[in-house]
């Protein structure tokens, strides 16, 4: 039939892209993890599991992984807490909702490069706006980006600030899908607004929560631009992210096999974490 042939032709370009720039790279990646290659040398020796062994004994990799986890663990509650407050406020019948929603969304569309430089400047220890304000209030300046304690929390705040508007929109959609009758029934039964919030709003928002947690975890593991620009991974590698570490191994040490190994492990971590989260959170969803 004519329609059949047309179908093949229509998907052909997409399938070619898929094979050349997706399927082949994935297989190539796996193959690379068993080899040692600096991309220049003509021979590519097979090294078996050496790259994996090296990974297990690589303190810097685990440091980068730990930094990334810390980032995620600070970033997620910040995002959920603040986005929830703003979404609940926006969900009330008020004037200027469109304006507020639009304003909150501004950082979402702005480049991570812009936001990283902007906040690197505002958070700089000696002449930044934030420390300037702290000093005006009679407080001590904080080494936001230059201390091992504060580098990751600061980056987690900046990333939360950038994406908050996006999560506000997700929560807002979730809030608007909650049936009004639930609140009316609860009010007749004498529930206080706070009870309504914790017994109705929060449970009914579970699907939105799930989406936010999964998206911010996946985004978190892919952290690169913010630490690359704001701290360069420092001080003392305290804000080195896994992706930065891949970048360093591949493009500064030309250690392609090892970099591919970290990339594969990272991909597996992302996949399994998001699958576990899905399982765990789906259990709580009740209607």
């Amino acid at each position: 039939m004519k329609g059949k042939r047309a179908g093949y032709w229509l998907v052909l370009p997409y399938v070619v892209f898929l094979l050349v720039f997706m399927a082949y790279p994935v297989l190539f990646s796996v193959w690379l993890t068993f080899h040692d290659w600096n991309i220049v040398s003509p021979d590519i020796p097979f090294v078996g599991l050496e790259n994996y062994e090296r990974l297990l004994n690589d303190d810097l990799f685990f440091k980068a992984l730990w930094n990334t986890l810390r980032f995620i663990l600070i970033n997620i509650p910040l995002q959920i807490g603040l986005a929830l407050i703003l979404a609940v406020a926006l969900n009330q019948p008020l004037k200027g909702r469109g304006f507020f929603r639009g304003a909150y969304f501004l950082p979402v569309v702005t480049s991570g490069v812009v936001i990283s430089f902007l906040w690197a400047w505002m958070l700089s220890t000696d002449d930044g706006l934030i420390n300037g304000l702290l000093q005006k209030a009679g407080l001590h300046p904080v080494p936001w980006l230059t201390s091992e304690t504060w580098a990751i929390p600061s980056i987690a705040w900046v990333a939360a600030w950038k994406n908050l508007g996006y999560y506000v929109v997700i929560f807002l959609a979730g809030l608007q899908s909650i049936p009004k009758q639930l609140y009316e029934a609860a009010r007749i039964d004498g529930a206080t607004p706070l009870q309504c919030f914790f017994r109705i709003t929060i449970p009914m928002l579970n699907p939105a929560m799930l989406l936010v947690v999964i998206l911010s975890t996946i985004n978190g593991f892919q952290l690169f631009t913010e630490p690359y620009i704001m701290t360069g991974g420092g001080p003392a590698n305290s804000s080195l992210s896994v992706v930065m570490y891949i970048y360093k191994n591949a493009f500064q040490s030309l250690d392609m096999g090892y970099a591919a190994t970290i990339g594969l492990v990272l991909a597996l971590i992302i996949l399994s974490v998001s699958m576990i989260q899905k399982r765990l959170l789906e259990k709580d969803v009740t209607y």
């Binding site: 229509l10 790279p25 703003l86 501004l106 569309v109 991570g112 490069v113 706006l129 892919q222 591919a260």
Partner: protein, 276 residues
């Protein structure tokens, strides 16, 4: 009476929260543009209004990096990726939604699977492919590997599923082929899908740093995001004014687009799980 006062307090609290939120999100942008217009001596002062406005920071920036070239490269990069994506994903989306052929359902499942592959797994082999094809420092190397994504196919497929079959049948009876049906009937009535895919796709390469960092070494070919990053990291020795100037140049086009198409931006990004 008591209830009314309660309502007013409640309204007051709500507006306080909302305004505080708006200030938190908008003020840094004001601060950025302001810094780019201040004199170097005043960049670090906390005054909300500078005593003197100067374009010195912009002049310094233009002396050091080819900003217009960077903007042009960014437009070529983001524009080409968007165009290729729009054409190829709408074709695949139409075939997956409305045509029957062997392997269709399997292709759809594979497509959903590819959405879960993080770019960090692909970046090293993609870089090697680009090197082997002698595509380093070329727009082909920058554009092609990141064009066409599963999200586009998915959005188009969902939209095309809602088009009434009678419309397609009528066109077929009139002798139109599948290509004409797609580009002359389906696409023109699918503006929301086209706008959604276009916005989502355009923002990715415009704002991307990692991939250009791998492919482009020649400053004349770099997108502005990469140019700005290298400029900023090269230690401008406290030249925060000029870093904020290049930041402003990088942010302005997307923010202008955003203010113009605000509703579409929020809906498109909100409805589809954007990639960071």
């Amino acid at each position: 009476m008591g209830r009314k006062i309660g309502d007013m307090i409640k309204k007051g609290c709500l507006y306080t929260v909302l305004v505080a939120g708006a200030v938190m999100f908008v003020f840094p942008f004001y601060w950025m543009v302001l810094a780019s217009l201040k004199t170097p001596e005043e960049v670090f002062r906390l005054d909300l209004i500078p005593s003197r406005v100067t374009l010195d920071s912009y002049r310094y920036m233009f002396e050091r990096i080819p900003v217009w070239k960077g903007l042009y490269n960014s437009f070529v990069f983001a524009g080409s990726v968007t165009l290729i994506t729009l054409i190829f994903t709408s074709m695949a989306g139409y075939a997956l939604a409305r045509l029957k052929f062997r392997g269709r359902d399997m292709l759809f499942s594979i497509m959903l699977l590819t959405m879960m592959i993080p770019f960090q797994l692909l970046m090293i082999p993609l870089y090697i492919i680009v090197v082997k094809l002698h595509w380093m420092n070329s727009f082909a190397g920058l554009i092609l590997p990141v064009s066409v994504n599963a999200l586009g196919v998915f959005i188009f497929r969902q939209f095309f599923l809602t088009v009434p079959q009678e419309l397609i049948d009528a066109a077929r009876i009139d002798g139109a082929g599948e290509w004409r049906i797609l580009f002359q009937i389906m696409m023109p009535i699918s503006k929301p899908a086209v706008v959604t895919v276009a916005i989502l796709t355009f923002m990715g390469p415009w704002n991307d740093l990692l991939w250009p960092l791998l492919v482009m070494r020649d400053q004349q070919l770099m997108p502005l995001a990469q140019m700005a990053t290298l400029f900023g990291l090269e230690g401008q020795g406290g030249q925060w004014g000029s870093i904020m100037a290049v930041n402003t140049m990088l942010a302005l086009p997307v923010i202008a687009l955003y203010l113009f198409f605000q509703r579409y931006f929020i809906e498109s990004v909100g409805s589809s799980g954007m990639k960071g």
